[in-house]
């Protein structure tokens, strides 16, 4: 399936052989000779007649192979001008504005004088070519809407050329962590060093990270989907806090000599609960007292061991779902 998908996108190849390098070697160093822009400052795709003005001697109508000098598939309909990819449709770029400001062709089309084919590399790269030059011309010249029609403060670049992402909408605020997790290349388009993540998150927590979250509810979220936590946190963050902080549940009734000791039930009820292992890696504790236990002095129900008014009943529900000897020696 992957091969099929790759092939689907791979049919649009250039259908013209053209080497700027060779033409320049032969003295055609003035771009205007072929692109004819000096009058209206708008470079044009050379038409075949323009090529033939030099190549007529190479062109033989009786020999179709002579077409191969320029064309890759002479028997097919020639489509020299490719439709403009969607990602470029957002540009309000004009050659005229650049030529009026005395920008040389090779300043943007870097390396074109050495190129042997018409490839995507000849199109100026935004980060490598446009931004550095615009930056030199002042900060206001690198605002997104200087070059883009739609990309502006509230409207961010296309997602893989096709989807507008409004970074300020609630959906994006919710999902951007996942999007980053799945596809960092998208983020890297603008946030090229990805320091933005740190710069923003170092002092802006997600909205739900409130005080109740810090005290209690973050545990639920971690139990539902730990992968969401791992977008920002690594395990040592949790460990550092949990090894130094007493959980809210560990109150006076949690355990101790004269308290209502309920910690057995808090851990083992229901039996699938394993939250104690967050801090206690290998809980090692003495077995519960024998059942029935030897007579004690004191009030069975007021001490908190047995249900009020039901001294004969066990201090835990029955059945608990596990073998009694799992806790009791006998």
């Amino acid at each position: 399936m992957l091969t099929f998908l790759m092939l689907l996108g791979g049919c649009k190849e250039s259908e013209i052989h053209y080497s700027h390098a060779r033409h320049m070697e032969r003295g055609l160093k003035d771009c205007n000779t072929c692109h004819n822009y000096k009058e209206d400052l708008e470079p044009k795709w050379p038409k075949m007649a323009k090529c033939l003005s030099c190549h007529m001697k190479d062109f033989d109508t009786s020999n179709p192979k002579s077409c191969l000098l320029c064309h890759t598939r002479p028997g097919m309909k020639i489509k020299v001008k490719h439709p403009i990819p969607k990602k470029y449709r957002d540009l309000k770029f004009t050659h005229k504005a650049h030529l009026e400001n005395k920008v040389e062709c090779v300043q943007c089309h870097k390396g074109i004088e050495k190129s042997d084919a018409i490839t995507l590399d000849l199109i100026p790269d935004m980060f490598g070519t446009c931004i550095p030059c615009h930056k030199e011309r002042g900060d206001e010249k690198i605002a997104c809407n200087v070059c883009h029609k739609h990309i502006k403060k509230n409207r961010m670049p296309l997602y893989h050329e096709d989807r507008w992402v409004k970074h300020t909408d609630a959906r994006w605020i919710q999902k951007h962590g996942n999007e980053f997790y799945y596809n960092q290349d998208y983020c890297k388009r603008c946030h090229n060093d990805l320091n933005w993540c740190v710069n923003c998150h170092q002092d802006q927590k997600p909205r739900n990270h409130n005080n109740a979250w810090r005290r209690k509810t973050h545990g639920f979220a971690a139990s539902w989907e730990r992968k969401k936590c791992s977008v920002c946190h690594q395990e040592d963050f949790c460990e550092r806090c949990h090894t130094n902080t007493t959980p809210l549940s560990h109150t006076a009734s949690w355990g101790g000599a004269n308290t209502r000791n309920r910690h057995c039930l808090n851990c083992h009820f229901p039996i699938s609960m394993v939250t104690c292992t967050v801090c206690h890696k290998s809980p090692a504790h003495p077995s519960a007292i024998d059942s029935p236990h030897p007579p004690f002095v004191g009030n069975c129900t007021q001490s908190g061991c047995h249900p009020v008014g039901r001294a004969g009943e066990p201090p835990h529900p029955k059945p608990i779902g596990i073998n009694c000897t799992a806790c009791h020696n006998k």
Binding site: G9, W164, N208, E235
Partner: protein, 466 residues
């Protein structure tokens, strides 16, 4: 916490600190252009504004019933212009924090991770590196220093990363000592490499490898990504990862994006394939804290529709299912999640924004949680004001998964059925002092069913770009 520390002092000290920092910083910023003159002006570079960045000083005060807590934070990030023949730039980011009133006790209401350090001040260096352009050949770069690497895993390390572009192929290799803000990594090392190829206009593939050596664990992870445009507005994204030669997870995602309609729809399927536990390093998701991470699948459907420039709605559902039902436990659960958000821009008030969101989790064994929030933002001249409120409900009812309904009346099981309501309210005001600097105040209050029930927070900050 110091109970006798007066509120006046606590507000006055941070304010003074902020004012002092502002004065110093302004003085430095103004003088930068005059004191450093261009050594390489011939190559078109001047040292005027050689360093740009941001400095922010923030005071945080928290109050809850009879307790309070007061901290200061200073953030600095910067980046230099190119120097050494326009080949080198340096960038850095760090934070300094001070606990103004000493550490919280172990069961204190405000105890957080900063209270786990020995000292009352704490520094963090997020990144500090030098970028060298074309160190060997053209279209290459070398980054030296502390840096983040986002590949199969997100890693902070001190070391080097070399990138090389070769036509349509981008490659990188990195290595160094892994580091962490929260623990000592004891010479843990990390290394990796990757290649990204765009063979066709509509195809991008990536292959990433990382090796993490963490004490006695050595983990090798490999990730393969493919993005492919299938047809005009239909895209495919896939990712497959391996951990120590075992398949780890895969994701397939289809997205349909209709720009002209300002609409998008995404459907994804993620499958986590093998349990992760002790055989893996501690970068992988929390096995030491949360136990073995069991295989599951996750199906997600999300949609977005813009309604003109004014309105936008988005919604989505997630369904997570643990593959083997015997693996279900506290930290490996099935759930359904739904969210809906509605955004309104510039209605009634120019430059205003109102966002309404609701999120609902239905988690097997925990019952459910819901989140509801409204935020409002508005610019008025040099002021930027905002207000909002949120409500969260966590309702958990463990008996639902234990089959012990008959025990509901027992006082021993009463605590397992709980509801936590959390209501938050906030307001903030930001005032632009100059084009590059501002002061802001944010106040938030929270009422919840946790201890303490009421909680207030004040953030007072000064920020300047330079």
């Amino acid at each position: 916490m110091l109970s006798n520390f007066s509120l006046l002092k606590l507000v006055a000290i941070p304010s003074l600190c902020i004012a002092l920092f502002c004065t110093v910083l302004f003085a430095q910023t103004n003088n930068t252009g005059n004191t450093i003159t261009g050594l390489t002006e011939s190559s078109g570079f001047t040292y005027n504004n050689f360093v740009s960045g941001n400095f922010k000083a923030q005071y945080e005060g928290r109050w809850a019933e009879d307790e309070d807590d007061h901290d200061m934070y200073e953030y600095l990030r910067f980046k230099t212009k190119d120097f050494f023949n326009n080949k080198v730039t340096i960038a850095g980011s760090g934070r300094l924090s001070e606990d103004l009133d000493g550490h919280e006790s172990k069961d204190g209401a405000f105890r957080d991770i900063l209270d786990t350090y020995d000292r009352s001040y704490n520094g963090r260096l997020y990144y500090l590196y030098a970028d060298i352009k074309n160190p060997v050949i053209e279209q290459s770069s070398l980054r030296l220093g502390r840096q983040y690497q986002y590949s199969v895993e997100t890693i902070l390390f001190d070391g080097a990363k070399y990138e090389q572009q070769l036509g349509p192929v981008a490659t990188y290799v990195f290595g160094g000592m892994r580091t962490s803000q929260y623990s000592s990594t004891y010479f843990d090392t990390v290394a990796g490499s990757g290649v990204s190829v765009r063979p066709f206009m509509d195809t991008i593939t990536n292959l990433d490898y990382v090796r993490i050596i963490d004490d006695n664990y050595i983990d090798d992870e490999v990730g393969f990504n493919l993005w492919q445009r299938i047809y005009e507005d239909l895209n495919f994204y896939g990712r497959y990862t391996l951990l120590n030669t075992l398949p780890k997870d895969f994701l397939v995602k289809l997205s349909w994006d209709k720009i002209d309609w300002d609409a998008s729809l995404q459907l994804s399927y993620f499958r986590f394939l093998h349990s992760i536990s002790e055989q893996s390093n501690n970068i992988s998701p929390f096995y030491q804290i949360l136990g073995t991470f069991e295989p599951f699948d996750l199906i997600s459907l999300t949609g977005y529709k813009g309604l003109g420039e004014t309105f936008g709605i988005s919604s989505g559902v997630d369904h997570r299912s643990v593959i083997d039902k015997n693996d279900e436990n506290t930290f490996n659960r099935d759930y359904n999640r739904t969210f809906f958000s509605f955004m309104v821009n510039n209605v009634l008030l120019e430059e205003s924004k109102v966002t309404f969101t609701v999120e609902y989790w239905n988690t097997k064994g925990v019952d459910h949680s819901a989140d509801l929030g409204v935020d409002f933002d508005k610019k008025i001249g040099k002021f930027d004001v905002g207000a909002g409120t949120g409500y969260s409900l966590y309702k958990y009812n463990f008996d639902g998964s234990s089959g012990l309904e008959s025990l509901l009346d027992s006082e021993y099981t009463r605590d397992i059925e709980q509801k936590i309501n959390v209501r938050t309210y906030y307001m903030r005001v930001k005032y632009l002092l100059t084009k590059q600097s501002d002061v802001s105040l944010r106040w938030s209050s929270e009422v919840s069913d946790t201890d303490p029930e009421t909680y207030h927070q004040m953030l007072l900050s000064y920020s300047t770009n330079f």
